[in-house]
C-alpha cells in the first residue's frame, strides 16, 4: 500500500492540511474572535437590542432575569447619586402623587361603599344574624358570603426533601407551621401517587376539603401548593404555573442544591405574592356610589341639623341664664353649658322665692339636664319679699299686694281667714315690718262663718243655723237661754251682720223666767209669783211702787208676755182708800149757831191729822196729788146767808185747826156749804152743824 519511504505521519499531516486547512483557519479565527472580549462585546452589542426584543416577546424570562440587576442598579444609584434620580423623577413626581391620592380616595370610597353595603343593607343584617348564629366573626361571614375565591396561602415546597422553602399568606395571622404542612402535603401526594399507582409524572394536582381546595403547581425541583377558599378560575392555575416557572428560572440551581437553608428563597416572595388573588361578588357600583353620596349627604344634613340644634340649645341656654339672673331671689355666679354632660349652674338662691327648675322649663331647657349648686340666702328686694310672703301665705285672687318701705299694703278683696293669718303672722315674714289695709273689703266664706258660730255657740238640738249673705238664719225651736247670748254675741262674730229669727221659735223655761223676774224685781215676801204660758201670775200684796215697776218691767223680761194681778192687792191703794174713807166719814160737830166745836166733834177732830197724813203718804205712793175739801154745814135754822157764813166759818175753823196741826194750807180747801139739802130720813139736827172732809184730786 505504501508507495514511498516517506514518513507516513508526514503524509497524514499533509493530507490533514489539504483537507481541513480552511476549516482550521476558520476555527482559529473563531477562536480568536471568542477570545477577544472587545470584539465579542461589539458583536453582542450589534444584536442585543434585537435579542432583547425577541426575548421580551417570547416570555417574561428576560424581565425576571434582569429584575435583580436592575433593582440593584437603581438601589446603588439612589445610595450613591440620588440627585440623578431626583432630577429624573422631578418632572413627573407631581402627577404621580396626584394619581396616588386619587387612587387612594377611590379605594377609600370603595371601602366606604362596601362597609355601608354591609352595615345598612338587608344582606348585611342577614350576615350579622348568621355571624351571631354560627359564632363566626362578622368579617368572616362577610368574606365567605361575598367571596368568589381567595388564595389564602401558598407554600413553596422542595420536591426532594419535602421541606417548606417559602410560605406566603393572605392573612398574616393565619400563619401555620409551614414545615409540617409542607411535609404532610408531600406525604399525601406521595401517598396518592403510590396508592393508586399513577404514572411517573402524574402527580396529585388538586384536592378539596370542604370550602378549601389545594392546588399544586409542579416544578422540577420545587412545587407550589396554593390553599384556596371558594371556586378559583382556571387563570389562577396559569398564575401558579408561571410563578413556579419563575422560581425555577431565578433560583433553579439553588433549588437543585438545596441543603436545608430556606432563607435564600425569601427573595422569591414577590414571585408568589401576585398569586394571592381574591375575587369578590361583583358590586353594583353605580348604586353604591349613589348610596355613598346619599350617606354623605345624610351625614352632612345631620351635621347641619346638629349645628342648628346646638345653636338653638345655646340660645335657649343664654336666655335661661338671663332669666335666672333677672329672677328675684337668684344670683348666678357661674353657668356652664354642658353639651354631653349636664349643664351646671352655681350661685345664690333664696329657696322660698325662686324656682330655677320652673324658669328652666319656661326657657325651654330640660331641668333634668341641669345640675344646680345653690347656696341659700335671704333676698330682700321687694319682689323677693313679696314672693316669699305669697309663698307662705298665698295670695287671694281679688287681693292686691304692694310693698312700700317694708309695709305690706293689702287692697282689693281678701277672705277674712287669710287676712286674720296675715295680720297675726305677716310681719314675721322677712322684709315686712308692718301691714296696712287700703280699700280692702273682707270676704267671708259662709261655711267658715257657720263653723265659727257653731264653735262659739253650739246650737242645741232642734235648732238649725245657716249663713246667707252675712245673715245668720236660725230656725227650729231654741231655748231662750241659748238664744240670749247668741243675740248678744253672734253679731260680733266675723261674717255675721244680723240674725234672722223669722223661722225660729223661742222656748222659755217657766222657772228660769220667774227666776229672772225675781232677780230683777226683788220679789217682796208678800207677793207670790208664778209663770204660766208667758203670763206672770202675781198674788198677795205689794206696794204700789213695786207693782208699778213690775207692771212696767215684767213684759220686758223674756218669757213674760202679760201679767195677771187679779189676786194681787195694791197695798198703797188700799191704804189710800181706807184713809180716804176714814177721813170722809169723820164729822166734826159744832155748837148751835156757833163756829165752836161741839164736844162730840173732838173725837173726830183728834183722829183727822194722822189719818190725813196716812192718806197723803198713800197718795204720794200712788203718785196722786190730793186736796182735801173741808166742807162746812149749818142746820136749816136761820137764813140761808147766815147759814152760808156760819158753814164757811165752821170749815175755816177745821182748816185752821189742821193748819195748826202742820198741814199745808194749800192742801185744805174750806168750803161753806150752807144747809145741806133735805134728806128723806130726818137726822138729828145737830148732825147738820158739822164739817165733813172730802179727798179730791188737786185741781
Amino acid at each position: 500500500m505504501r508507495s514511498s519511504p516517506r514518513d507516513p505521519l508526514d503524509d497524514l499531516d499533509e493530507l490533514r492540511r489539504l483537507l481541513i486547512r480552511p476549516e482550521q483557519d476558520e476555527l482559529r479565527e473563531l477562536h480568536d474572535r471568542l477570545d477577544d472580549k472587545e470584539q465579542r462585546a461589539h458583536e453582542i452589542a450589534a444584536v442585543l437590542p434585537e435579542a432583547v426584543t425577541l426575548s421580551r416577546d417570547r416570555s417574561e424570562e428576560l424581565t425576571r432575569a434582569l429584575q435583580p440587576a436592575v433593582e440593584g442598579s437603581v438601589r446603588e444609584s439612589i445610595d450613591k447619586r440620588p440627585q440623578v434620580l431626583i432630577d429624573a423623577l422631578h418632572p413627573i413626581i407631581g402627577s404621580v402623587v396626584r394619581r396616588s391620592i386619587a387612587e387612594n380616595l377611590r379605594a377609600l370610597l370603595q371601602t366606604l361603599n362596601q362597609s355601608l353595603e354591609q352595615s345598612f343593607s338587608w344582606q348585611g343584617l342577614k350576615w350579622r344574624f348568621e355571624a351571631l348564629r354560627t359564632g363566626r366573626s362578622f368579617a368572616e361571614v362577610v368574606m365567605l358570603r361575598s367571596l368568589v375565591y381567595r388564595v389564602e396561602q401558598i407554600f413553596l415546597i422542595h420536591r426532594e426533601t419535602s421541606l417548606s422553602l417559602l410560605h406566603v399568606s393572605a392573612d398574616a395571622a393565619a400563619a401555620q407551621d409551614s414545615d409540617m404542612v409542607a411535609g404532610m402535603l408531600s406525604a399525601i401526594q406521595d401517598f396518592a401517587h403510590d396508592s393508586f399507582k399513577t404514572g411517573k409524572d402524574e402527580r396529585l394536582e388538586e384536592f378539596r376539603v370542604g370550602e378549601l381546595q389545594v392546588w399544586i403547581a409542579p416544578g422540577a425541583h420545587a412545587y407550589l401548593a396554593a390553599v384556596i377558599r371558594g371556586n378559583p378560575p382556571r387563570e389562577l392555575r396559569t398564575c401558579l404555573e408561571e410563578a413556579i416557572e419563575s422560581v425555577h428560572i431565578l433560583r433553579g440551581s439553588a433549588l437543585a442544591k438545596f441543603d436545608g437553608d430556606a432563607a435564600e428563597f425569601e427573595s422569591l416572595r414577590p414571585e408568589l405574592e401576585p398569586c394571592l388573588r381574591a375575587q369578590y361578588q361583583p358590586k353594583k357600583t353605580a348604586t353604591n356610589h349613589n348610596r355613598a353620596w346619599l350617606m354623605i349627604a345624610i351625614g352632612a344634613g345631620m351635621i347641619v341639623a346638629a349645628l342648628l340644634v346646638g345653636a338653638r340649645s345655646e340660645r335657649r341656654w343664654q336666655d335661661f341664664v338671663r332669666r335666672l339672673n333677672s329672677a328675684p331671689g337668684i344670683a348666678v355666679t357661674q353657668a356652664q353649658k354642658g353639651w354631653i354632660f349636664r349643664s351646671r349652674v352655681a350661685g345664690l338662691r333664696d329657696p322660698a322665692v325662686a324656682d330655677p327648675a320652673a324658669l328652666a322649663r319656661a326657657a325651654g331647657v330640660n331641668p333634668d339636664r341641669l345640675r344646680f349648686e345653690w347656696k341659700d340666702y335671704l333676698a330682700l328686694d321687694n319682689a323677693s319679699v313679696l314672693r316669699r310672703f305669697e309663698k307662705r301665705f298665698g295670695k287671694p285672687a281679688g287681693a292686691d299686694l304692694r310693698l312700700t318701705n317694708g309695709t305690706l299694703v293689702i287692697s282689693g278683696a281678701a277672705p277674712y281667714e287669710w287676712l286674720t293669718r296675715v295680720e297675726r303672722d305677716g310681719a314675721q315674714s322677712p322684709g315686712i315690718t308692718s301691714i296696712s289695709e287700703h280699700n280692702l273689703s273682707v270676704t267671708y266664706n259662709p261655711a267658715l262663718v257657720l263653723t265659727r258660730f257653731r264653735r262659739a255657740f253650739p246650737p242645741p238640738p232642734g235648732v238649725t243655723a245657716k249663713v246667707e249673705n252675712g245673715t245668720l238664719l236660725l230656725s227650729g225651736t231654741a231655748p231662750y237661754e241659748w238664744l240670749a247670748p247668741v243675740r248678744e254675741g253672734a253679731p260680733k262674730l266675723p261674717g255675721i251682720g244680723k240674725i234672722s229669727e223669722e223661722h225660729l221659735k223661742v222656748a222659755y223655761d217657766a222657772k228660769l223666767v220667774l227666776q229672772r223676774f225675781s232677780d230683777r224685781f226683788n220679789l217682796p215676801d208678800t207677793v207670790n209669783a208664778s209663770v204660766q204660758d208667758g203670763v206672770l201670775i202675781l198674788s198677795g200684796e205689794a206696794p204700789h211702787g213695786w207693782l208699778t215697776r213690775a207692771r212696767r218691767g215684767a213684759p220686758t223680761i223674756p218669757g213674760i208676755n202679760s201679767i195677771d194681778e187679779r189676786k194681787l192687792t195694791d197695798l198703797d191703794q188700799r191704804a189710800f182708800q181706807q184713809s180716804t174713807s176714814v177721813i170722809e166719814s169723820a164729822f166734826v160737830y159744832f155748837l148751835f149757831n156757833k163756829d165752836n166745836f161741839a164736844t162730840e166733834g173732838f173725837a173726830a177732830l183728834s183722829r183727822l191729822p194722822d189719818e190725813i197724813r196716812r192718806c197723803q203718804t198713800a197718795a204720794n205712793r200712788l203718785g196722786l196729788e190730793i186736796q182735801i175739801e173741808v166742807r162746812g154745814y149749818a142746820d136749816a135754822v136761820g137764813s140761808e146767808a147766815k147759814n152760808a157764813d156760819l158753814s164757811r166759818r165752821r170749815a175755816e175753823a177745821v182748816r185752821d185747826f189742821l193748819v195748826k196741826c202742820g198741814f199745808e194750807p194749800s192742801l185744805l180747801k174750806p168750803m161753806g156749804m150752807g144747809a145741806p139739802p133735805p134728806v128723806k130720813t130726818p137726822t138729828p139736827e145737830q148732825s147738820d152743824r158739822r164739817v165733813a172732809l172730802k179727798v179730791v184730786p188737786k185741781s
Binding site: R159, T161, L163, S164, G183, A187, D190, H193, G260
Partner: protein, 165 residues
C-alpha cells in the same frame, strides 16, 4: 435556619411514636400513621450554635400489615432507627430494614435507638450484640418513658447530618 428532613424507622410497637411524642412540636394526630402511613412532627436542636429544625417523618412500622412506603424516604437527610431492647427480633428486623433503606437512599446518616432502656432487666439484647453492631451502627439507648437518651439521639443525628462549619 437550617431545616432537615429525618425519618423514624422501625417495626410496629418499638416506641417510635412515643419516642418523639414528648420532644417534638406536633400538629397532626397519630391516626395519620395508620391512614397515610406517616405523621410529621417538628423538633429544633442546636448544632454548633446553629439552630437546626428537624422535620420528623414518623413512618408507620414496616410489618406484615403495613409495608414501608419508601417514597416517604425520599430527600431525607438522616434517619433514626428504633428497636425494642426487650424484643430481640425487633433489632434483627431493624438491621434488615436498614439494609433496604440504604439501598434506596444510599449513604445517609442514621442513628439506632435501642428503646425501652427503663425496662433493662427484661432486655433480650445483650451488650455483646450491641458491641457487634457498633462497627456499622451508632447505637444509643433511649427510654421514651423516662426521656433518657432521646435528646441525645436526635442531637447526634443532627450533628451527623450537618457538615462541620
Amino acid at each position: 435556619m437550617i431545616q432537615k428532613k429525618v425519618c423514624m424507622l422501625g417495626t410496629s410497637g418499638v416506641g417510635k411514636t412515643s419516642l418523639v411524642a414528648q420532644f417534638v412540636h406536633s400538629m397532626f394526630s397519630d391516626k395519620y400513621l395508620t391512614t397515610v402511613g406517616v405523621k410529621i412532627d417538628k423538633k429544633s436542636v442546636q448544632v454548633n450554635g446553629t439552630e437546626v429544625t428537624l422535620v420528623i417523618w414518623d413512618l408507620a412500622g414496616d410489618d406484615d400489615f403495613q409495608r414501608l412506603q419508601t417514597s416517604y424516604l425520599r430527600g431525607t437527610s438522616g434517619y433514626l432507627l428504633v428497636a425494642d431492647g426487650t424484643r430481640r427480633v425487633t433489632l434483627d428486623q431493624v438491621v434488615e430494614l436498614q439494609k433496604r433503606v440504604a439501598e434506596t437512599l444510599g449513604a445517609t446518616p442514621f442513628v439506632l435507638a435501642l428503646n425501652k432502656a427503663d425496662l433493662a432487666p427484661q432486655w433480650e439484647v445483650d451488650e455483646a450484640r450491641i458491641s457487634a453492631l457498633a462497627d456499622n451502627f451508632t447505637v444509643i439507648k433511649t427510654s421514651a418513658k423516662e426521656g433518657a437518651g432521646v435528646e441525645e439521639a436526635f442531637a447526634h443525628l443532627a450533628r451527623r447530618m450537618t457538615p462541620p462549619a
